[in-house]
């Protein structure tokens, strides 16, 4: 039963992202060509809302359903890997026109060949795990 709330959150996420068109290959190209405000509006308004929600719940000392204070994990201060990894991901994002969330959503939306991208991204993650210790 615990799984249900996560399942429903995922369903909601899939609907919102599809209806926002953020899972569209064309929208991603358009964004990187700076020819529409659409994607910037989505990401920007999500971040502004997110900052407000997180800061407010810290101020109000809101608790999670597990009873702990609401907090988010600190991201590791690995700036070099954030930049290098981010760049590699950006190349893939623009080419395939999908980031990890939309890969799953597009599968449900009936674009079955996205499975090739999804399986390849699992392979890419595996390759990272193999060489992680040797990367800058």
């Amino acid at each position: 039963m615990k799984a249900l709330k996560f399942l429903f959150t995922g369903i909601f996420f899939g609907i919102v992202l599809t209806k926002s068109q953020a899972i569209s290959w064309y929208r991603i190209v358009e964004m990187f060509r700076f020819e529409s405000f659409h994607m910037y509006g989505i990401i920007g308004s999500a971040v502004v809302t997110g900052v407000i929600l997180i800061q407010l719940s810290k101020k109000l000392k809101l608790k999670t359903t597990e009873g702990d204070l609401i907090s988010l994990p600190q991201k590791a201060k690995k700036y070099k890997s954030a930049l290098l990894g981010g760049t590699i991901f950006g190349l893939g994002w623009a080419l395939a026109g999908a980031c990890p969330g939309p890969m799953f959503i597009l599968l449900g939306a009936g674009y079955y060949s996205i499975a090739i991208v999804l399986v390849s991204s699992i392979v890419g993650t595996f390759i990272y795990g193999l060489v992680a210790d040797r990367l800058p």
Partner: protein, 186 residues
């Protein structure tokens, strides 16, 4: 009903995405779709090959449910909450894409020229999707997150590494769209 069936504007969907993030945080979890790729590796036995995958994946099961849900959500949105109006892409984007051999989007979310089964008979297109996927999987783990983990969650929590990662996303995306696209598709 048109409000539901037409595309939803950015100022509605952006805040709704933040609410997805906040829901997961309020369940004591966090929003990060690319972590599922690591979990899937671990389930497949990758822990035998690299310690990076040697963790208790059962603790990450909740996130797989989010992924399963998002597949269902995509299905519901396309079949019950959409009309077949063409996607409103900037004509200058469409013009450049047509010079690369891509027709306009119509109501399609992904281009048939790359994603249709017909297109995949061409090994080069298959190669592009495989490379794209490998870069996505390798890059997100190297960077420590993707659009959901870094751009939405990390920036919402004012994390500097996330800002650096998002700058990286754009360096990569701009390189691909402006420098590599003409080389690949022209």
């Amino acid at each position: 009903m048109d409000y539901i069936l037409n595309p939803w504007p950015w100022y509605i969907t952006g805040p709704l995405i933040a609410i997805v993030m906040f829901l997961l945080v309020s369940f004591g979890k966090t929003f990060g779709m690319s972590s599922n790729l690591r979990t899937i590796c671990s389930i497949g036995g990758a822990g035998k090959y690299a310690s990076f995958f040697d963790f208790n994946w059962k603790e990450q099961q909740w996130n797989l449910w989010v992924a399963v849900g998002s597949i269902i959500g995509g299905f519901i949105a396309v079949h019950f909450l959409s009309n077949s109006n063409p996607i409103d892409i900037n004509p200058s984007t469409i013009e450049v894409l047509s010079s690369y051999g891509f027709n306009g989007p119509e109501a399609n979310l992904a281009p048939a020229e790359l994603y249709s089964f017909e297109a995949l008979k061409n090994p080069f297109n298959l190669f592009l999707l495989v490379i794209g996927g490998i870069f996505i999987g390798f890059g997100t783990r190297y960077a420590g997150g993707c659009t959901s983990g870094h751009a939405i969650t990390g920036l919402s929590n004012l994390q500097l590494p996330s800002l650096v990662a998002v700058i990286g996303f754009f360096i990569g995306g701009l390189l691909m769209t402006h420098i590599l696209f003409p080389l690949i598709f022209l």
